[in-house]
């Protein structure tokens, strides 16, 4: 134990001898004495340097972790009714999808898990090829030419998209739809303080972005570098990307689309709508809810922007024998080479989550992704219709939705969510005025392929009881 250190006392002695030292403490003589932790002897006489408990054996650690895990209400599987965890109707960018055991098993192969960033391609073809495949599939989802090897999460991908667009256009302004996830918008605002990106909130009208009127000649006093819009947006609504593209064209801005990758199984790819950059949160494909992380920032763009692509990019090449090989490429964009002029500061990204996403996408394949989207859309439609049949429940906005929707309830949504927990349901996400993108409080509801009819019926019945 003790730090998983293999060294026996005798070995430490002998190594110290080789160094001409007589104690381990001497190694730290280069640290000024005034800065060195003095340590306090504990009752047994051993010095304690940090005010932390001593280490524990594996069973004790696991027992403590199990205790903590047991103090949460986790989301239940599809076969499980109330009483064995929560049946999840919450989404908002984090969805309760199935992760097949094959995907889980492959993504947890220890070679993938315990490798470093592939700096030595000759011994990293596994990770590199897995990322290359991921890039290909994600680019296809978006309908664009290139994808990077991942960013941290949806929010960071959106931030990087804004940075890229403002750099490309030389314009700091970003018209940011209020339909973009509120946490993403908050993150963009935080990071804008440093990057100088100027965010202009664009409100929704009945669920879809109401872009500012632009003069037909596009000459506006302060033209934006980018438009950012989500598809579907945070209220679950399908935005008019054609309109967004026209506004972008008129203003000379790049169009950034935040795409839900499961909805992408049924939707026309944003690339076909003319998006310049497509980003997204990859969690729904292969990653459990995980209390919000590690998640996966999807980032794709047109080929012409590849030299400003943030993060890592895997390319195909050959080895000395002419055999196909993969390698991190266009590395001069990256911070370890270009330093303060790098296109981004990202170094460690979310490779393992990207690998899982790639495995999941291949497990789904062409027909499976569509089937998944279809099943989510069906469950969502059924849930929505059932809830709307309840007294006093109304749509929050009127635009068409696909895999998630927002309702106005005859009760405080936050209280409803709290009370529904008692019945074993995570009823959705309570939207305040901001989260509801200005439409006042509401409840955001998503039903994935894991929701069965009987779960939905029970949920609606419980809701009926709770909102009265």
């Amino acid at each position: 134990m003790a730090g998983y250190v293999p060294h026996t006392d005798a070995e430490v002695e002998s190594m110290l001898g080789f160094l001409g030292l007589s104690s381990v403490d001497e190694l730290f003589s280069v640290v000024p004495a005034a800065l060195r932790l003095a340590g306090r002897p504990d009752p047994s006489g051993r010095r304690r340097f940090l005010d932390l408990p001593d280490g524990s054996a594996e069973p004790d650690v696991l027992a403590e972790m199990e205790r903590l895990a047991g103090a949460n209400l986790a989301c239940a599987g599809p076969g499980v009714g109330a009483g064995h965890g929560l049946v999840c109707f919450a989404g908002g960018g984090a969805y309760d999808h199935e992760v097949p055991e094959a995907v889980r098993a492959l993504a947890s192969r220890s070679e993938y898990v315990t490798a470093y960033t592939p700096y030595q391609p000759e011994v990293a073809q596994g990770v590199l090829q897995a990322l290359f495949e991921y890039q290909t599939m994600v680019a296809r989802l978006a309908g664009l030419a290139v994808a990077n090897a991942s960013l941290y999460d949806g929010a960071s991908a959106c931030v990087e998209a804004a940075n890229l667009a403002t750099a490309v256009t030389g314009r700091p302004g970003v018209w940011l739809s209020l339909g973009v996830h509120p946490h993403w918008r908050a993150t963009m605002a935080t990071l804008a303080a440093g990057s100088g990106v100027e965010l202009v909130d664009v409100p929704l009208d009945d669920g879809v972005t109401a872009w500012p009127q632009v003069a037909p000649d596009g000459v506006s006093p302060d033209p934006p570098g980018a438009l950012v819009v989500a598809y579907p947006n945070h209220l679950g609504c399908l935005e008019d990307l054609g309109l967004a593209r026209r506004v972008a064209d008129t203003t000379g801005a790049l169009l950034v689309v935040a795409l839900d990758p499961v909805a992408a199984g049924l939707l026309r790819p944003p690339g076909e709508w003319g998006a310049d950059v497509v980003v997204g949160e990859g969690q729904p494909l292969g990653t459990p809810l995980s209390f919000g992380g590690p998640y996966l920032g999807l980032f794709t763009c047109r080929l012409e922007h590849v030299r400003r692509l943030p993060g890592r990019l895997v390319g195909e090449t050959v080895d000395t024998e002419g055999r196909r090989a993969y390698v991190s490429t266009l590395r001069t964009r990256e911070q370890d080479i270009r330093r303060e002029r790098a296109s981004s500061n990202v170094c460690t990204n979310q490779t393992l989550i990207a690998v899982a996403c790639g495995v999941q996408l291949a497990w789904l394949g062409t027909s499976g992704l569509r089937e998944l989207a279809l099943r989510c859309a069906r469950a969502t439609r059924y849930t929505r219709e059932s809830l709307l049949a309840l007294d006093g429940v109304e749509p929050l906005v009127g635009a068409p939705t696909l895999r998630e929707f927002a309702l106005r309830l005859p009760a405080d949504p936050a209280v409803v969510v709290e009370r529904m927990l008692e019945d074993g349901f995570l009823a959705g996400i309570a939207l305040d005025a901001d989260g509801g993108a200005g439409n006042g409080p509401g409840l955001l509801v998503a039903a994935t392929e894991r929701r069965t009819r009987s779960q939905i019926d029970a949920y609606v019945a419980a809701m009926d009881k709770v909102i009265r």
């Binding site: 134990m1 998983y4 293999p6 060294h7 080789f18 190694l27 640290v31 940090l50 001593d54 524990s56 054996a57 650690v61 696991l62 199990e66 103090a71 209400l73 919450a90 984090a94 220890s110 490798a115 470093y116 592939p118 391609p121 000759e122 073809q125 596994g126 990770v127 090829q129 495949e133 941290y152 908050a186 935080t190 399908l238 459990p288 809810l289 995980s290 919000g292 998640y295 590849v306 090449t317 000395t320 490429t329 001069t332 370890d336 303060e340 500061n345 990202v346 460690t348 979310q350 490779t351 996408l361 027909s367 499976g368 279809l374 859309a377 069906r378 439609r381 059924y382 709290e418 995570l426």
Partner: protein, 483 residues
Amino acid sequence: MFELSSPGRRAWSFARTDLPEWAAADLVPPEHLAPEPVALPEVSERDLVAHHTRLTHRQYSVDLGAYPLGSCTMKYNPKLADVAASLPGLARVHPAAPPSCTQGWLELLSELSRALAEVTGMAAVTLQPPAGAAGELTGLLLLRAWHASQGDTGRTKVVIPDSAHGTNPASVTLGGYEALTVASDHRGCVDLAALRAVLDDEVAGIMLTNPNTLGLFEDDIAAITAAVHEVGGLVYYDGANLNAILGVTRPGDMGFDIVHLNLHKTFAVPHGGGGPGAGPVAVTEALAPFLPGPLPARAPDGTYGWRTPARSIGRVHSWHGNALALARAYAYLLALGGDGLRRVAEIAVLNANWLRRRLGDHYDVPHDRTCMHECVVSAAGLKRRTGVRAADVAKRLLEEGFHAPTVSFPLVVEEALMIEPTETESPQTLAALADALVRIAEAASVQDHHAPRTTPVGRVDEVRAARRLVATFDARLPPTGGG
């Protein structure tokens, strides 16, 4: 994968359902409906499993052997942390679930924050940043917010030593500052006089890592932090090298104001082939009100909730950071405890010094004094004698069954080999690694330019990859054999 595809083949299966089977056209307005499905590989589960299992046999990893990559702290990742992070009670929790059903998570995050504050000697912690670079940027925004709160908006520069990791200058730019580089002195440390010369009221702060990128402890550190504080700047600690000083000394005690930690280095979160990691940021009392929020907080009744600090700079992550990575780090922390953490530093430093001494007769050691958790040696002499460069040594080491050290970094050392053995490598492994490096130096020849020859692929043509970009299968060249 794409070559394995056959139209109509599939691995997927979904649960039985009795929901109404609306057609796509009933569910999606026509203008939104995809004209055709996304073209993905169509493979069987069996082929998917074989493909990825084979790929993993083409991948080196900590679990296969020593990974002495300097500045990366590739230590053993305990299996118990894998299990802890996959407990359904942690892994299947929705991030927007109300605190009443996430008490376990909130306690975990809160306790982890407390422990990291103790380890760093700081007052408060945010766990949101998902990696080191994200932590750096968060730190710089905190620094900016702090100056702004002082009504001090004239500071435009952040100082970084020339040996700094590339994320530092890149983060400085994204933080809205100009990076001002100061040279290292002959000892490999910050040149205090040179630093003093650039310090003025335009300097918002300085970013340092200590031990520095040469693996050396900056022994003037107290004077450095004092000098920066004197001109009104703040001092940022890049915690990537914290492994060396766990329980020995703390950034807070050295006078740092802001610290980021790389839990995927120091706290054994496995690196995942390039992430996910976790880059928490710890700050002094004075900076605590600016931290990103929400933070886990304990109410007087003992229950946990979320609290956003008064003058928070805002969120830096979609949710609460890389939560399952944080859970792994917490499990590791419980396993090690205060005593185990100190032991980590002791043995990490012992291992590095043993290697430095052992390699000293065969490689140049530009700064041959007690190093901390890593040592930087140079192949400059070797190159002069034999033409064999640090990069060749690295490739040769791959043939010997080890991962290579970090090469060509830090930039301030010619033909650098930056070797960080970590505390989990045994004396036997160290000796074998050293023997291999010595053998390589002794037998160095022009043949080494062709190394590695025994790896799954030979030396990879990086130039071609960049010149003829093929970043997706769709843009592929015709196959040229292999893989």
